[in-house]
């Protein structure tokens, strides 16, 4: 069974085999003269072509992106985009990612915006670069443009490198580009093998965790046992005297131990931890009462959507949904390397935003921004704002205390689990009614949530900065405005209802440290809304899929819904005792990719265990650059969401986080996997790129919740839907 059915388009290949790189200019659109209008994608922030594309005199083509490879395959996709428009082999391109010294500032690699922002910029920059090369050739050869042909990186025999001849194409981009006809593509839309995979699977030094510099030393930071704990006493003499220990760095309550060898740092750090005495102050809420607490906390309340008039009256259905704190729980704890030399600081980090991080570190250390360089190196999947920026801050502080020596800080598992900012606990309430004609007459939705972003930015976002002699306080959180949203992301359904109203209760007070976890509020809001859609469908005595189609006007939404249902075999599915099927749909942010998921489950009454059977998804991400990359992201999102939905919740007592390792925060393991996962793609060549990386999680949760309800006849609304909760709900 091959689940990758990238619906290929009909390629008219008038290009010979070796001439995959042959394009005649007579068939290309012309670059128009000077134009007015907004520049596409990130070109609007960085308009110079050679900030994105450089053709070297040696023929090497370098493409720059301000985005970072997080494991989502963006490097490969961006190379494909550039290769297509430049008419070169992908292997000829070197891609430089997020580096404050070398690449454009594209802020964070987050929100599934890399293709929309960077992909679009590179698409246009490459097309305009190709056009500029053509102009240069025309001028040089005295030949009209429509008599030019590109073959093997040369225009009418003159290599790109020669055309460029030492000058960079330091020209401003135009709003319109002579983009190649999607029907003629040979690179974009193909499942090109990921450029980074072979090196990772053969042990080459790719991750920041693998970085080794001459003279590098190893550091470990002494972390408090709980939020706000005060360091009462610390006699570091014994630890400092242990083999290999070079220094104990102290700045206020920020304490780090540095040793020659990594294991020396580990053992000495343990001794240091034993010698520390803390005054613990944290008063965490009762984790069993968190959903009663959230609506009581002060909140900023915003009606983010209203149409028509919400009514009261008979037939109203109400439901409340709950989502606990959940973790990124990156498989590789955060790590960074920093070097402070000649009053300049370089930090190698896997943080998602090297430019904002650089600002934060500059502020924290009091250094001028221009003297701080942040370079992205890959880490393990981060899924949002995890400990990466904090590890970078740790390394920066320690490096400043040991000028000239590269310092490596590796967070331990307990550090990452205990100190990463979590996805916030959320509460939602839905009320609605169906009318006699079987459509939703009234839909009201409100949600309560903390901020979903406390990223650096400011130095006060960095955990190390809270411990300094002159500490930085976290700034007051602010909600991310619609249409993107934070906690309210996807709180406004794509469905068209006669009357509807959506309220966002933004809670500034954060009992636990929280920030962006993949999908932000979308995961929970889609779970809630999709669960509620089924409850409304039941009231209308309608099939869940058909009911959704009734309320969707967008043909692309309808297409993914129909595709998923058809491929799953929704119509023909036969109900058996203990088994159920469920459906979930959303358009991420109502702006990005469309995803529909259908699944079946079997629920074991006595153990409460949910076994997931077939999962079938359909996705529309606009113009597909790499179909396998999209399938990989959707498959991964489905499995990750299954883990969140059935297993995950951060545990804490009244003082401390108690989920400090995998034993304390179980996630899905191989035996819990669905039986199979299929992903079907709908390609829209020529349409804008739509972000995919966070598109599957919400619909999967909806589908699972609905399938479990179908299987058991009982509706479970509190995440995670653990075996214990299912057992309790079903009774003996």
């Amino acid at each position: 069974m091959n689940p990758r059915s990238a619906r290929g388009m009909n390629r008219r290949r008038f290009i010979a085999r070796s001439g995959a790189l042959v394009v005649s200019f007579s068939l290309l659109p012309r670059l128009a003269g000077a134009q007015a209008g907004k520049l596409p994608g990130s070109l609007s922030k960085e308009p110079m072509l050679d900030a994105w594309i450089r053709v070297g005199a040696d023929g090497r083509i370098t493409v720059f992106t301000g985005k970072a490879e997080l494991g989502q395959g963006i490097k490969t996709a961006l190379i494909q985009v550039a290769a297509e428009e430049l008419v070169v082999e992908p292997s000829r391109i070197e891609l430089v990612t997020a580096d404050t010294s070398r690449t454009p500032d594209e802020q964070y690699t987050s929100g599934s915006q890399s293709m929309q922002e960077s992909g679009t910029a590179i698409l246009h920059a490459a097309a305009q670069t190709r056009a500029a090369l053509a102009e240069l050739a025309a001028k040089r050869l005295g030949v009209p443009l429509d008599k030019l042909t590109i073959r093997d990186e040369a225009v009418n025999g003159v290599p790109y490198a020669e055309l460029v001849a030492g000058q960079t194409l330091h020209v401003r981009a135009q709003p319109q580009s002579p983009l190649r006809d999607p029907m003629t593509r040979t690179v974009m839309g193909k499942p090109l093998a990921r450029v980074d995979i072979p090196a990772k699977l053969t042990g080459q030094a790719i991750y920041v965790q693998d970085l080794r510099l001459p003279g590098m030393v190893h550091a470990r930071v002494l972390r408090p046992p709980s939020y706000g704990a005060r360091l009462k006493a610390l006699d570091s003499a014994a630890a400092a005297a242990m083999p290999g220990v070079l220094k104990v760095v102290r700045d206020g309550a920020f304490v780090a131990l540095v040793a020659e060898r990594e294991y020396q740092a580990v053992t000495a750090a343990r001794a240091l931890a034993t010698a520390a005495q803390w005054d613990e102050q944290a008063k965490l809420p009762d984790s069993k009462e968190i959903y009663a607490l959230l609506p009581k906390l002060p909140s900023q309340n915003t009606v983010i959507h209203e149409n028509g008039k919400s009514a009261t009256g008979a037939g109203i259905i109400e439901a409340e949904y709950r989502r606990p704190y959940q973790m990124h729980a990156s498989i590789g704890p955060s790590c960074a390397v920093a070097l402070y030399r000649d009053e300049a600081l370089t930090v190698w980090t896997h943080g998602q935003g090297v430019y904002p991080l650089r600002e934060a570190i500059a502020e924290m250390t009091g250094m001028p921004k221009e003297r701080v360089r942040c370079v992205h190196m890959e880490g393990s999947g981060c899924y949002g704002h995890n400990g990466a920026d904090d590890a970078a801050a740790d390394a920066a502080l320690v490096a400043r205390a040991l000028p000239g020596r590269p310092v490596r800080v590796q967070w331990m598992r307990e550090d990452e689990h205990g100190w990463e900012p979590y996805g916030p606990a959320m509460l939602s309430k839905a009320r609605g009614r169906v009318s006699a004609d079987g459509t939703v007459e009234d839909f009201q939705y409100e949600l309560w949530s903390n901020s979903h972003s406390t990223r650096p930015g400011p130095a006060g976002a960095l955990a190390a900065a809270w411990q300094l002699e002159k500490p930085f306080a976290p700034p007051p959180p602010r909600p991310i405005p619609q249409p993107t949203g934070g906690g309210d992301r996807n709180a406004i359904p794509l469905y068209r209802f006669a009357n509807s109203r959506v309220v966002h209760h933004f809670i500034p007070e954060m009992p636990l440290r929280v920030s962006a976890l993949r999908g932000l509020g979308a995961y929970m809001n889609i779970f809630s809304i999709e669960s509620f859609m089924d409850e409304l469908a039941a009231a209308a005595r309608a099939d869940p899929v058909e009911f959704r189609l009734r309320h969707l006007q967008d043909p692309r939404a309808q297409a993914v819904v129909r595709t998923a249902a058809e491929r799953f075999g929704w119509q023909a599915w036969k109900k058996q005792p203990g088994r159920g099927r469920g459906f979930g749909f959303a358009r991420y942010k109502n702006l990005a990719a469309y995803t529909a998921v259908a699944c079946e489950v079997e629920v074991e009454r006595d153990s409460g265990r949910v076994r997931v059977g077939r999962v079938v998804a359909a996705n529309d991400s606009g113009d597909i650059v790499n179909p396998d990359g999209i399938v990989n992201q959707i498959e991964g999102g489905i499995v990750q969401s299954t883990s969140w939905t059935l297993h995950e919740a951060v545990a804490f007592d009244r003082t401390r986080i108690t989920s400090r390792d995998w034993g304390g925060y179980p996630i899905l393991r191989f035996p819990d996997l669905p039986e199979s996962v299929e992903v079907h793609l709908v390609n829209r060549p020529g349409q804008p790129f739509l972000g995919t990386g966070e598109a599957a999680q919400g619909p999967t949760a909806g589908a699972l919740g609905n399938a479990i309800a179908d299987a058991t006849g009982v509706r479970l609304r509190e995440l995670p839907i653990t075996a214990a909760r299912v057992r309790q709900a079903l009774g003996a």
């Binding site: 343990r270 931890a273 034993t274 331990m412 598992r413 307990e414 689990h417 005792p577 203990g578 074991e604 009454r605 006595d606 153990s607 059935l646 297993h647 545990a651 989920s659 400090r660 390792d661 995998w662 034993g663 304390g664 925060y665 179980p666 393991r669 035996p671 819990d672 653990t722 075996a723 214990a724 009774g731 003996a732």
Partner: protein, 419 residues
């Protein structure tokens, strides 16, 4: 007279020891049972641990198929779902009660005492009724029973009759009026439904309880069930509060975490009524009695050693220092990377090396999907020679007792099982 000869005589005497069949009768529908009774049955089943033996690994609940290894061979627990063909779907309550009280199946055949009816016989009538309500309303699963794989002569049911005559005392539990209600409840559960003696009481070669050594320590699936009475080998004596915590969560602050067969037991007891588990804990504390002066001295020594760090030298010590010390020297308070100092662990003080070896090789994993403490296994990281050196070291250093004599044998057994 030697046991086998006795058996032969008794066997000749009661040739037809089997009973009459009970007529087949479809189990009643769920709607005919009071939901409260089913719920009560669920709680009792949690104490009785029925689901553990009657469910195969990865299999459907109560559908049988799990092998239970004994010195007599492997028993395969039957399907007790109410499937009419392959389960107990045609067992009336009378047949069910007889199985628990008498150890006889619906057709009148003797059941092997691997099914612990010598304990279940103590159940009160209303509890049997509740258990029936629970068992009869489980999801029916079609799964034919797997025949036992027993060594001769144990593969003949005709031996069971004589065995019963010698070792089986029928009859419901009789409370002791001299004791309070909680003690009696605990005694009822521990000696009956909980069937703790099945693993914690020594048996003779024919599998009969050594009645005068009740709770003196036993064997279950290769693991040693330590003595629960005054002979308890636990370095620190158990209080009722500690026992309650352990039975409910598998973890108490100053004792080792539940391992091996105790893991599923504590997982099920987490679902039992709180007052029942407290009663069991109270009974067990009373069973061990107040610790003697000598025992208290040993406990103090164990506690102070837990804080110290002096070590002997040698190969075993070096293996311990590299493999175990990083976690076990730090103590649990150190967080997820810290574990119980071995001086407090019963595995080091019991007469056999089996538990220590099993834990070292297999590790301890929390129940699937549930949070808990875990320990990695070292079966492939350590060679046999290294395991033996390590075992000898921890026994002498932390068990403070004479060397085990069964390490080679137990290690061989475990390696065979893992093959």
């Amino acid at each position: 007279m030697r046991p086998l000869a006795l058996i032969a005589i008794v066997s000749a005497v009661c040739a037809a020891c089997a009973a009459d069949p009970v007529a087949p009768e479809a189990v009643p529908a769920r709607s005919s049972f009071d939901p409260g009774l089913i719920a009560k049955g669920a709680q009792l089943a949690a104490i009785g641990n029925c689901q553990v033996c009657h469910t195969a690994e990865g299999g459907r609940s109560f559908a049988g198929g799990r092998p239970i290894e004994t010195p007599y061979g492997a028993f395969y627990a039957p399907n007790i779902t109410p499937d009419s063909e392959t389960g107990i779907g045609r067992w009336s309550e009378v047949a069910f009660a007889r199985a628990l009280r008498e150890g006889v199946d619906r057709e009148g055949r003797n059941l092997y005492p691997a099914f612990p009816y010598e304990y279940y016989t103590r159940l009160a009538d209303e509890d049997i009724r509740a258990l029936y309500a629970y068992v009869a309303t489980r999801e029916p699963v079609r799964a034919p029973n797997r025949p036992h794989e027993l060594r001769a002569p144990f593969n003949s049911r005709s031996l069971i009759g004589p065995w019963k005559a010698l070792y089986f005392e029928r009859g419901a539990f009789q409370p002791d009026p001299a004791r309070n209600a909680q003690w009696n409840r605990g005694a009822y559960l521990v000696n009956g439904l909980g069937h703790c003696g099945a693993c914690h009481t020594p048996r003779n070669a024919l599998g009969g309880e050594k009645k005068d050594e009740r709770f003196g320590g036993g064997v279950a699936e290769g693991w040693h069930g330590p003595a629960l009475d005054a002979r308890s080998p636990a370095p620190l004596p158990w209080t009722a509060e500690q026992l309650y915590k352990y039975l409910r969560t598998g973890l108490d602050d100053v004792h080792a975490i539940a391992a091996g067969p105790m893991e599923p037991v504590v997982r099920n007891l987490a679902r039992a009524p709180e007052e029942d588990v407290r009663a069991m804990a109270a009974y067990l504390e009373a069973l061990a009695g107040p610790p003697s002066a000598e025992r208290r001295k040993k406990a103090d020594a164990a506690l102070s050693q837990a804080k110290g760090a002096s070590r002997a030298n040698g190969r075993g010590a070096e293996i311990y220092a590299g493999t175990c010390a990083a976690c076990h020297d730090r103590g649990r308070e150190a967080g997820s990377g810290g574990a119980l100092p071995l001086t407090l662990g019963t595995a080091m003080t019991i007469p056999t090396s089996s538990n220590l070896l099993r834990i070292t090789l297999e590790g301890i994993a929390p129940p699937e999907g549930e949070p808990g403490r875990s320990m990695p296994g070292f079966a492939d990281a350590l060679t046999d020679g290294q395991v033996k050196d390590l075992a000898a070291y921890v026994r002498s250093e932390f068990g403070r007792a004479a060397a085990w004599t069964d390490v080679d044998e137990e290690l061989k057994k475990i390696r065979e099982e893992r093959r």
